[in-house]
Amino acid sequence: MDNHYSIYICGVGGQGIIKTSTIIGEAAMNQGLDVVMSEIHGMSQRGGSVSTELKIGGYNSSIIPKKGADMLLSFEPIETIRGLDKVNSETKIVYNTHPIIPSSANKPYPNVDNITKTLKENFKHVLPINGTQLAIDAGSVLSLNMVLLGAVTADDKFPLTKESVIEAMKNNLKPKFHEMNLKAIENGYKSIKN
């Protein structure tokens, strides 16, 4: 049987979500796995919600069914809530706790600690990380996506090796940023492994 694994990645336009997803997909391809991914371009780039879906192992469709994700990787707290229809009771929920307040907010932004508390009440594997801080520690807030990439590789069920993910990162990002992004991946990895 194929090595099935589905990741739903969500956040806000401009956070590097598509790049992160492409790196995972390329790593999967290099490991000889079947992989499909869905991304949406266009209007959503203008500060709207952005999501990508990655499916490894013998799928034709690139869209994850309801409750079908093994991993929900969210770059932003409230986007985590928006992604919950892809989640089942076994799904790992990894999310960055640093909020991005919507500019056209029709409602006040909910308390992040309350989001974490509520998620933990409802799901088994809830893993909040302060990815933004870990990115700053690695050298730049812009490496947030690599922190979260590192976090995915720490999941026991994740079918790709950290090495192949790093290889794909190097193939996709400028050499002068490799060192910082390696540190970011490491920071993200450790935050979940420990």
Binding site: E39, S61, I81, S104
Partner: protein, 630 residues
């Protein structure tokens, strides 16, 4: 991945490609000489990639002023014996259709392929129309790839097919195929090198008016020829490997026919639920492979038709059943098994199949009330005009001018157009009341000005103005219409990802190009009032709109400032908030609504990483609480 791999990659090599990138590789493998487009999402990345690679691949590439022009560039190239490629989104086909319909009559010499990307669920479109109707309207073949590998392979095959039958061929993708990524194995590249000094191969047009000039005397015969071709191609569709059966069942009671991305959902649902259903995948769906479909149907009791947008395969299947007198029940969009509109997914397809097959066991997860509450409480995050976007300052300014003139919002109709500025529909600007298509805001200005006594303010982008805003402007002047036309010249085609247009001095291949002046065009159209303004100068904006709105002719205001997303622009330091000066009127948050300014816990906060320092908000604040950064 390095994009150059799309040119240098050798046969057997694999890359993780976007569907649109795979299309480019297909074009390169096919040895295309001429490619032309007008950008439209979900097809835009094909042009973005081609514009980078055209020279390396010996392809002439252009961003044409609109899809009709792109169609004509490709058609004449094909008539001259070259392989040509044009691509657009579904609504672009409407613009191109006048020339497209006749290209089917005159046929081609070199292969000509039209890729049209449909957008089920309207991720970035004004309607959901189905390109497959155009194949039937014009009587040309259509291919429907379902994944990235097929996009590449079918684009390449489409050129062979086109040359075999001397007919243009459509490749229809959908958003989920164009914006899907998957592993693509490269094939051989057809040599497209040229001996002349130019990058691309040149053909030769052999005159033959009876073939290329559809005056009534010739066009009648052309129509007969076209039907002959279609009958011959039908034989190909019946034998084509692109229409193939995937066997999951032994007793053949149920079958399923699907195409494009809908096939992917159907395949996954059948496979992962172990359903006793065989699938006929249609990749070459017009001319309809009637014999192939009848062969599939004849042993079945019931068949599901899974396709996105219109029930086209379903109607053709029903026709087969009728003409062959088969006893097969059809479940599709027409009997309500599947939704008649919007994009499908595995859940929707599974729900539809479940109505007949009863296989689903839904396990519900019970959530705590606090989660339900949280779910209801999260704020929405809709696309907005970017921080530093010149359109915001201009929308703010016109609303001030309207108020100063003593007009009510209902006194002024905002006719909008296709582009980023359509986002002006959001409060507080409420600057989009009517919208049809590319260039329509100008024609709408003509109509509203004779059919109402309201003022009309039309908005159009620079690229859209070149696309189809000029001829309605001529109409407006000649017919003495009365409205204010604003050309939002942000020096780029912004919404589709920043392609050049004739208003800037660079062409689609990155070479220097003559810049076409919008101001001179407006003057040449006969407009007496043409003003170029800087939208970030609020006083000038308000004054100009006051003047323009009081006129009784066509007033043209060109609001000229670059899109903030253009790479390499020098940005000013972020604006500073001086709390001691703040009067708490909240005009900067509620009236100006820049995403870089928000009110958190009762305090105004400037998000420094977002603020471009455009300074428009400084002019909005009367109390001096916002000042230029240093």
């Amino acid at each position: 991945m390095n994009l150059k791999k799309l040119v240098t990659g050798v046969s057997g090599e694999k890359e993780f490609l976007l569907g649109n990138e795979a299309a480019v590789r297909g074009v390169i493998e096919a040895g295309v000489s001429i490619a032309a487009t007008y950008p439209g999402t979900p097809s835009s990345e094909i042009g973005n990639v081609l514009s980078v690679l055209a020279k390396d691949a010996n392809i002439y590439f252009e961003f044409s002023t609109n899809e009709k022009v792109a169609m004509e560039v490709a058609a004449t190239a094909a008539a001259s014996g070259l392989r040509s490629f044009t691509f657009m989104k579904h609504v672009g086909m409407n613009v191109a259709s006048d020339s497209f319909m006749t290209t089917a009559y005159s046929g081609v010499n070199g292969g000509m392929v039209i890729l049209s990307a449909d957008d089920p669920s309207l991720f970035s479109s004004q309607n959901e129309q189905d390109t497959r109707n155009y194949a039937r309207l014009a009587n040309v073949p259509i291919l429907e790839p379902s994944n990235c590998q097929e996009v590449k392979d079918m684009v390449k095959y489409a050129f062979d097919l086109s040359e075999q039958f001397n007919i243009p061929v459509i490749v229809r993708t959908t958003t989920r195929v164009s914006h899907m990524r998957g592993v693509v194995e490269f094939g051989d590249v057809e040599d497209n090198s040229s001996n002349n000094e130019n990058h691309w191969k040149r053909g030769h047009f052999n005159k033959d008016p009876s073939k290329y000039v559809p005056v009534p005397a010739f066009a009648g015969d052309m129509h007969v020829t076209l039907w002959d071709k279609i009958h011959k191609i039908e034989d190909s569709t019946n034998k084509s490997d692109l229409n193939r059966e995937i066997e999951f069942s032994t007793d053949k009671k149920y079958g399923l026919i699907a195409s494009s991305s809908a096939y992917n959902y159907a395949y996954d649902v059948v496979k992962f639920n172990g359903l006793d259903v065989n699938i006929l995948k249609l990749g070459f769906s017009y001319p309809f492979p009637k014999e192939r479909v009848v062969e599939f149907l004849k042993d079945l009791d019931e068949v599901f038709i899974v396709e996105e947008v219109d029930p086209i395969i379903e109607r053709d299947t029903l026709a087969c059943i009728g003409s062959e007198n088969l006893n097969v029940e059809v479940h599709g969009k027409l009997d309500g098994t599947f939704p008649i509109y919007h994009e499908f997914n595995s859940d929707i397809v599974a729900d539809g199949l479940n109505k007949i097959l009863n296989f689903k066991k839904d396990e519900d997860i019970a959530f705590s009330q606090s989660l339900e509450k949280l779910n209801d409480e999260i704020p929405s995050r809709v696309p907005v005009l970017c921080a530093g976007c010149p359109h915001r300052a201009m929308y703010y300014g016109i609303n001030v001018a309207i108020e100063e003139l003593g007009l009510k919002p209902s006194d002024v109709i905002f006719a909008s157009d296709i582009g980023c500025y359509t986002l002006g529909i959001n409060p507080p600007y409420n600057a989009a009341d009517y919208l049809l298509s590319m260039g329509s805001s100008v024609g709408d200005g003509c109509g509203f000005s004779v059919s109402t006594d309201q003022k009309v303010a039309s908005f159009i982008g620079d690229s859209t103005f070149f696309h189809s805003g000029i001829s309605p402007l001529i109409n407006a002047v000649h017919n003495k219409h009365n409205f204010v036309l604003t050309v939002l010249d942000n020096r780029i085609t912004a919404m589709t990802g920043g392609q050049p247009n004739p208003g800037i001095p660079v062409d689609g291949m990155g070479d220097e190009a003559p810049e076409v002046s919008i101001r001179k065009l407006a003057l040449a159209c006969g407009c007496d009032y043409v003003r170029v303004i800087n939208p970030f100068n609020l006083e000038q904006v308000v004054k100009t709109y006051r003047e323009a709105l009081e006129r009784d002719d066509v007033a043209v205001i060109i609001s000229k400032a670059p899109c903030t997303l253009i790479k390499g622009l020098t940005k000013k330091p972020p604006v500073k908030f001086i709390e001691s000066n703040c009067n708490k009127c909240d005009k900067c948050v509620n009236g100006f609504a820049c995403p870089a300014i928000s009110k958190i816990n009762g305090k105004i906060i400037i998000n420094e990483s977002q603020c471009d320092g455009c300074g428009a908000c400084i002019q909005v604040c009367k109390y001096g609480a916002l000042e230029a950064g240093r």
